[in-house]
């Protein structure tokens, strides 16, 4: 039942060309006192979604620093993921009435995984709410170090769901949040951890122009006209319908196209319903391309982002919104909602433009289409901002510092 992941490997030294050899040297210096220490990362999906994507790159890099790290995925059936998806939305503030049965299902799957996962590493990092109750598997307080990594925005959670989860979270040795605004008042230490992108992954690496053109051709996207793109799962919190409405306003002034491209994650049963809503709103407009990509289509996503004139992220709620950093890394001008972790990535009028409504989104897109020189400048600044803050090597460094703090004296 246990799923241990095969991960993709790029030598750490390959990053030196992008970030400088000094960064790699620093990582090695920080990792040295941690050699041989065991670390276990646990989340709820092996593919799809930002967490799996990060772990897929993070784990091999940590191994290169001689950390004894492994990544396990908890298992669950449809009823578990239905409940955890509802919890996810409720924690983001959506109305939800949690039943006693929901909590039972959640606990039953956590208990089942507790019995099958090793949970014996010196440091155990649990990602997101789904496996939070695995803390029950800790032998005794202080026997090893447990930290909870929360990738979602807990600023306005559904009270019942949060009160249920808090009982588990408060037993960890620390909790990591993507922004101070996402955190709750807790009795345990909290750490600020920005998520990160991998500049050498297939999703972010440089691409041949030929491949980009072939991708546009395959999806019948015209390279001669402006391309507005939102890359996101088909999820109401990403507001794909709002993006179409903003596009329709822009379309009155510019002959542009809209690309809505998204994969699906194994822990998101709602995607198909939202996709239908989006199709209905698009109403067969030939300039709206709705692309349902496979769960893992990194090269296509990369090509679509690189081909875009403007990248949009019009989320209503957001964890961190790593698609923003992906676009900025590619020097793309980004128009995005000022929610979740997006304002950390988009410094308004410096690394992109922030909006608060459909009309505002449309206005900023029109502004950038009219001022391509400003759009280019925003993209340049955005690239530098990501390089200094949101690359996977920075994330690795933060983890090393946390591990050093946790193991100090043990």
């Amino acid at each position: 039942l246990k799923e241990t992941l095969a991960v993709s490997r790029i030598p750490l030294e390959h990053y030196a060309e992008l970030i400088g050899g000094g960064e790699i040297e620093e990582l090695r210096a920080l990792a040295k006192p941690l050699h041989g220490r065991s670390i276990e990362m646990i989340n709820s999906t092996a593919v799809g979604g930002g967490v799996a994507e990060i772990l897929n790159r993070f784990v091999p890099l940590a191994e290169e620093l001689d950390l004894n790290i492994k990544w396990d995925v908890m298992t669950g059936a449809e009823d578990f993921f239905d409940v955890t998806k509802s919890f996810h939305n409720a924690l983001h503030g959506e109305p939800y009435h949690a039943s006693h049965r929901d909590f039972e299902i959640f606990l039953a799957y956590n208990e089942h995984n507790r019995a099958t996962l090793p949970l014996d590493a010196e440091i155990v990092v649990i990602h997101d709410p789904q496996p939070a109750a695995l803390i029950n598997g800790r032998r005794r307080p202080g026997s090893n170090h447990w930290v909870w990594r929360c990738h979602i925005d807990l600023s306005h959670p559904n009270r019942a769901v949060w009160e249920f989860l808090e009982k588990f979270v408060s037993r960890y040795d620390g909790a990591m949040f993507s922004s101070p605004e996402f955190s709750r008042q807790l009795s345990i230490p909290q750490y600020l951890f920005y998520p990160a992108i991998d500049p050498l992954s297939e999703k972010n690496c440089p691409l041949d122009q030929d491949f980009i053109e072939q991708t546009l051709h395959r999806y019948q996207i015209d390279p001669q006209r402006p391309i507005l793109t939102q890359i996101s799962r088909f999820d109401r919190l990403k507001d794909p319908v709002g993006v179409i409405r903003a596009y329709r306003i822009v379309k009155r002034y510019f002959d542009c196209q809209l690309v809505l491209a998204g994969g699906s994650a194994t822990d998101d049963p709602e995607g198909a319903i939202v996709l239908k809503e989006v199709m209905r709103e698009a109403n067969q407009d030939p300039d709206i391309k709705i692309l349902e990509l496979p769960a893992w289509a990194p090269l296509e996503v990369n090509a679509l982002q690189r081909a875009s004139t403007i990248v949009i992220q019009k989320s209503l709620r957001e964890g961190f919104g790593l698609t923003v950093s992906e676009a900025l890394w590619k020097k793309k001008p980004v128009v995005a909602s000022a929610v979740g972790g997006i304002p950390t990535q988009i410094i308004h009028k410096h690394t992109g433009l922030l909006t608060h409504s459909v009309e505002g989104t449309a206005y900023q897109i029109r502004f950038l289409l009219s001022h391509p020189e400003i759009a280019a400048k925003l993209g340049e600044h955005g690239h530098q901002h990501v390089k200094e803050n949101f690359l996977i090597t920075q994330k690795l460094k933060r983890y090393l510092v946390l591990f050093l703090m946790l193991t100090r004296g043990t």
Binding site: G20, G22, E25, E26, L30, E388, V401, M405
Partner: protein, 118 residues
């Protein structure tokens, strides 16, 4: 100051902001990199390969340790090599309008100019 202001302007004391201020603290972990310099050439070579965090530690956060008068690099260039003019020029690089990379590039240009003098 906050107390005096609130006493003088009580109407502002309970005013609510649209967005909260979140108090945070940072933890600094200092790790020796095993690199050192004795000459300006060696210093330049190490500076070129220093990480962002290393550069920030010596050039930006050191100003608080050195009570805002100088930074680690300028202090060593002046004290260790006697290059006071170069040290001053480097200390005057504007850390608010430069990125870490652009500040380092300016520093390298100043060092290269100094090396050409000799």
């Amino acid at each position: 100051m906050v107390r005096d202001f609130c006493e003088a302007q009580p109407q502002f004391a309970s005013q609510s902001a649209l967005e909260r201020f979140y108090f945070c603290e940072s933890v600094e972990v200092t790790a020796p990199l095993g690199r050192s310099a004795r000459t300006l050439d060696e210093f330049r070579d190490n500076l070129l390969h220093l990480s962002h965090a290393g550069f920030h530690f010596h050039f930006i956060s050191s100003r608080l340790r050195l009570q805002l008068r100088t930074n680690d690099f300028s202090f060593w260039l002046s004290d260790g090599l006697g290059l006071r003019t170069l040290a001053d020029s480097i200390n005057h690089i504007d850390i608010y309008t430069n990125t870490l990379d652009s500040a380092r590039a300016k520093m390298l240009r100043l060092i290269d100019r100094e090396r050409r003098k000799n």
